[in-house]
């Protein structure tokens, strides 16, 4: 019987060898991948039991940790008096014991948790003093007045508002509606936290999308005519006074499709219209023709300079807006009007306005104002403003500014007039699905001579106005409210 015995011994040894193998696989070879796995909440849980740094808006914490008497020691809490959690949720995100983190809670986790290398000296000292390393406090650029103005003006309609400081790129407002409340998701009760998270994810209105910088993106509609106009002016062959043909209906080459104006009539008298008037009245036929004349490459290039086609961090990750490449003439005609396959985030359209406002220099959007030691309040870092790109020349910028001012003065954007302040704007009413009410767009900046704020507003499917919506009527007042909030401070 001893021979089979040896075989059984071999089988046993092989089994143990496999166990040694699988153990080292999990503990060593696969360990890093498992630690970084999206389902792994251990790191979060570990960080939860540390005092996590707050996220501050104008000195008031909108996300902060409260000491509690349970295993996690600190309860993450969102919102403050007059600063409802759901208004800031797209920016702060949540920090959950079961579902991980999102928003700045995720992207700035290292700083908030106190594990970032920027906190090196703090960590070293805590080793010697024996105290728990605390997370850093992050002051963000949002302007509470602008943020609340945007939220209130949107009034529960689905959509988004973004406001930028054109000179610095600071994000002054970032609203995504419908909002959501991160507090139940941060609950230490596993079931409650999981249920809240699942409800958020399952909601048909997709509140979890930060519509300002992500989600499904929107066709920008006529607000994109700013890019087309910029391309025309940059080509050197057009001035605001250049005459374009603006018939009531434009037959597109190679197809039976046509493009017509929203009013149904021709633009200007005698079928021709200046570039400036085309923008003021948002003439479709002239811009479609202009786009085809400029060509696919010129249009693509101009769009890219404004940031289309690029994903970047503010430090929330911004989805890349897109302008189709290699379009045929009819597609290009529609793309020049911000239709066809053009997609943009509200932030992207705010950047277009921001570049025009800032004399052609596009500043990189930024949400982080300062990072400070949460205890000593020592400044750890402060991102300085930096240029994103120079999409247009100063001349083009000032020409576009004048054209945009006339939009508000006596064009499609009169709803955004602010007494005593020159406002520059462009409206948009974007078709997005057969039979659905169009998205109402509005992008603007003010004051035109010394811009303090650039805004983009989108109200999905016309909001409360439905199919009767136009960018000027529905989105304009919202943009106005935000601009006023910033300017009147």
């Amino acid at each position: 019987m001893n021979n089979p015995l040896k075989h059984v011994a071999v089988v046993g040894f092989v089994m143990f060898a496999l166990l040694f193998g699988s153990t080292s696989f999990v503990q060593y070879f696969q360990a890093q991948a498992l630690r970084d796995h999206e389902l792994n909440t251990r790191t979060l849980v570990e960080e939860l039991s540390r005092e996590r740094g707050p996220i501050l808006v104008d000195g008031t914490p909108v996300a902060y940790s409260v000491p509690v008497d349970d295993t996690y020691e600190y309860q993450r809490t969102y919102g403050a008096d007059g600063m409802p959690a759901e208004v800031y949720a797209p920016v702060t995100g949540f920090f959950s014991i079961v579902s991980g983190a999102s928003g700045l809670e995720k992207t700035e986790n290292g700083l908030l948790a106190g594990t970032d290398d920027a906190l090196f000296y703090d960590k070293i000292s805590s080793i010697f003093t024996g105290s728990q390393p605390a997370g850093a406090a992050i002051e963000i650029t949002l302007d509470p007045e602008a943020q609340m103005a945007a939220w209130n003006a949107l009034g529960g309609q689905k959509g988004s508002v973004v406001a930028l400081d054109p000179k610095t790129g600071d994000v002054l407002a970032m609203v995504s509606s419908p909002g959501w409340n991160p507090n139940p998701i941060a609950s230490h009760d596993r079931d409650e936290a999981l249920n809240a998270y699942e409800r958020l994810i399952a909601d048909d209105d997709n509140p979890a999308y930060n519509r300002a910088i992500g989600g499904n993106l929107y066709p920008p509609g006529s607000t994109f005519k700013l890019v087309t106009a910029a391309a025309a002016l940059e080509s050197g062959e057009y001035t605001p006074d250049s005459q374009l043909s603006g018939p009531a209906t434009l037959d597109l080459p190679q197809t039976t499709a046509t493009i017509s104006n929203s009013g149904g009539g021709a633009c200007g008298s005698g079928g021709t219209v200046s570039l400036a008037d085309s923008l003021k009245n948002s003439c479709n036929t002239s811009f479609a023709d202009l786009g085809m004349t400029l060509g696919s490459d010129a249009m693509s290039e101009q769009a890219q300079k404004f940031g289309f086609g690029e994903s970047f961090d503010i430090p929330l990750q911004v989805s890349a807006s897109s302008f189709p490449s290699d379009t045929n003439p009819p597609q290009l005609a529609q793309s020049s009007l911000g239709q066809f396959e053009v997609r943009a985030t509200p932030l992207q359209m705010a950047m277009v306005s921001s570049a025009i406002a800032n004399g052609g220099s596009l500043m990189h959007p930024q949400l982080i104002d300062q990072v400070r030691n949460a205890r000593t309040l020592d400044l750890i870092s402060e991102p300085s403003p930096r240029e994103f790109s120079r999409p247009i020349s100063g001349d083009t910028a000032s020409a576009l500014t004048d054209m945009m001012v006339s939009v508000v003065d006596d064009g499609t954007g009169t709803a955004a007039q602010i007494p005593g302040v020159d406002v520059a704007a462009k409206t948009g009413t974007a078709q997005h699905a057969q039979g659905a009410a169009p998205h109402a767009w509005f992008t603007s900046f003010a004051p035109a001579d010394d811009p303090q704020v650039a805004v983009a507003v989108v109200v999905e499917s016309g909001g409360n106005a439905g199919s009767q919506a136009s960018g000027g009527r529905v989105a304009g007042p919202i943009a106005k409210a935000v601009m006023e909030a910033v300017i009147n401070e």
Binding site: F25, Q30, A31, Q32, R35, L39, R42
Partner: protein, 554 residues
């Protein structure tokens, strides 16, 4: 062939061998046990330091308790199983001690007191191991209870199905409630089954090997030889499928195939066994949703879908993996991790808990302990002379090995996860008691395997002594056995009828040649002739069945 002279001739070389009689290694056992106690107590203290920054107040009391258990077992082996393997007791205490420390660690996190009851079970288990050494003076006695064990195993397995007694925990109906305790009879049944398989196979292995039709060059055993064992197998596996406990089912099946292979030496059994299992697993996966769930949760473990699925899903497995990954190479240190995040961190997933806090290094050390235990068991199996002991040892040792493989393989995602306990480590009374009884049996058998002939005084089965001695004194026990043999010789058919199956062919030959002094089946093995007792196919009549310790002059 005349028997006596042959024996006389064999005495000479044997006497030489005896002069270099094996050392008992009792001192080594004592030192190793002390080491195991110190490490266990150290782990316990470190848990307190890591989790609560203080050494547990009762650390001396705890150390004393473990030391008392170790010392008790040491004294018992020294007294009753002097030549027993010196590594078994320290191994068991160390594994048990490491497990206790980790259970205490989980207790601190969850504010429960599992460690206390685990210590009680450990105490009970080691006392049972001690009782095995003291009262089971010769493991071959168990062979008399082959069928009793078989039926008992069956009964134990059926117990949880009895309404009012059995309870379903986590979908598996493998528990019985006795007062405040719940118990898994399967843990004891596996030992009973090992005894049954060993006893049965040692009697029937020749039929299984030699008789039967040959198909495609493979000799298949006759159906009637195979009948009882098939029934036992179908019964145990069937019951377990009914009770939805796949791990134990796999364990029993592996135990059965391994013992069958060792008994017959035919590789066809392995392939036949693996084939049967593969077929069974496939059918089970098709029929039973819980099997399918396990497989889905294994293959797609790291997907959100499986992770969040209830019931079933991979939440526990994946949490365990995350815990182990956070431990990395050297672990977080005892008391410094978060093993309690994993459901059943103190029982089914204690391996993952240990991985988190002791790291890969710690787990390798634990695997080495199991590996040594397995190696010692296999060594005992190869050195023990009687077929029954050999089979029983293989069965018991392989059980531990396979159980480790099924649990640890499941926890590390090598194979689908099934509910079994890690021997000695995991919290759970029945498992611990089963494991300690196995240690007791291995101690008893290893003592038998290494004990020099002149010290053979178990007084239960006959000891073949020198012919002169035999002439001079007839011990009562010899007399009894002599009488038995005479009866055997006079009425072989009756003997066959008595136990319901034919006797060992070897034994039959021996008794026919010289009934009065018949050696065992291995009488033809020269070196063992003097020490092996006869292996009776027949069970002794009741009055012989009683162990008669006093009957043999010491």
């Amino acid at each position: 062939m005349t028997y006596a002279p042959a024996v006389a001739e064999q005495r000479a070389p044997d006497a030489a061998a005896r002069s270099q009689a094996p050392r008992p290694y009792r001192f080594a056992e004592l030192m190793l046990t002390a080491l195991a106690v110190v490490i266990s107590a150290g782990a316990y203290a470190l848990v307190g330091l890591g989790a609560e920054d203080t050494v547990p107040a009762n650390v001396y009391w705890y150390t004393g308790w473990l030391a008392a258990l170790g010392l008790g077992l040491h004294v018992l082996t020294w007294w009753r199983a002097k030549y027993a393997d010196p590594v078994l007791v320290p191994l068991a205490i160390l594994l048990n001690g490491i497990g206790l420390a980790m259970i205490y660690r989980i207790d601190l996190a969850t504010e429960s007191s599992t460690a206390t009851s685990q210590l009680v079970w450990m105490t009970l288990g080691s006392i049972l191991a001690g009782l095995v050494i003291v009262f089971l003076r010769d493991h071959r006695l168990l062979r008399r209870f082959t069928y009793t064990c078989g039926f008992a195993a069956l009964a134990f397995l059926l117990l949880p199905l009895v309404p009012g007694l059995g309870t379903t925990i986590n979908g598996a109906r493998i528990w019985i409630n006795v007062g405040p305790f719940s118990f898994q009879p399967g843990e004891i049944a596996k030992i009973l089954l090992a005894v049954f398989f060993a006893g049965y196979l040692v009697s029937f292995r020749d039929q299984l090997v030699l008789a039967g039709p040959k198909i495609l060059g493979i000799r298949f055993p006759r159906l009637r030889d195979l009948g009882p064992i098939i029934i036992a197998w179908v019964a145990s596996v069937g019951i377990l499928v009914l009770q939805r406990d796949l791990g134990t089912s796999l364990l029993f099946f592996g135990l059965f195939v391994a013992m069958l292979y060792v008994a017959t030496g035919k590789k066809t059994w392995i392939f036949l066994g693996l084939g049967m299992f593969a077929l069974g697993a496939f059918v089970a996966a098709q029929i039973f949703t819980h099997v399918q769930q396990r497989i889905d949760g294994w293959l797609g473990a790291l997907t959100r879908e499986e992770f969040e699925k209830t019931p079933g899903g991979s939440y526990q497995l994946v949490q365990g993996l995350f815990g182990m990954a956070s431990g990395g190479l050297t672990g977080t240190g005892l008391g410094e991790g978060r093993p309690s995040v994993v459901p059943y961190a103190e029982s089914d997933f204690i391996y993952a808990s240990l991985g988190e806090e002791l790291g890969m290094v710690g787990l390798f050390a634990i695997l080495m302990l199991y590996l040594i235990l397995f190696q010692r068991g296999m060594k005992i199996a190869s050195s023990v002379r009687d077929g029954f002991g050999k089979l029983l040892t293989v069965g018991l040792t392989f059980t531990i090995c396979l159980q480790c493989f099924i649990v640890i393989g499941g926890v590390t995602r090598l194979i689908p996860l099934t509910g079994l306990t890690t021997p000695f480590l995991a919290a759970g009374g029945s498992s611990l008691i089963g494991s300690w009884i196995i240690i007791g049996l291995l101690l008893r058998i290893s003592d038998y395997a290494r004990r020099p002939a002149e010290e053979f005084q178990t007084g239960v089965l006959t000891v073949l002594t020198d012919p002169e001695e035999r002439a001079g004194q007839r011990s009562p026990s010899r007399g009894l056995l002599g009488g038995l043999r005479n009866r055997d010789a006079a009425d072989p058919a009756g003997a066959e009828a008595a136990d319901g199956h034919p006797r060992d062919p070897e034994a039959e030959v021996a008794t026919t040649v010289h009934p009065a002094a018949a050696p065992g089946p291995e009488a033809d093995v020269a070196t063992t002739a003097h020490r092996t007792a006869p292996e009776h196919g027949a069970e002794p009549t009741p009055e012989h069945g009683e162990p008669e310790h006093g009957g043999d002059p010491r």
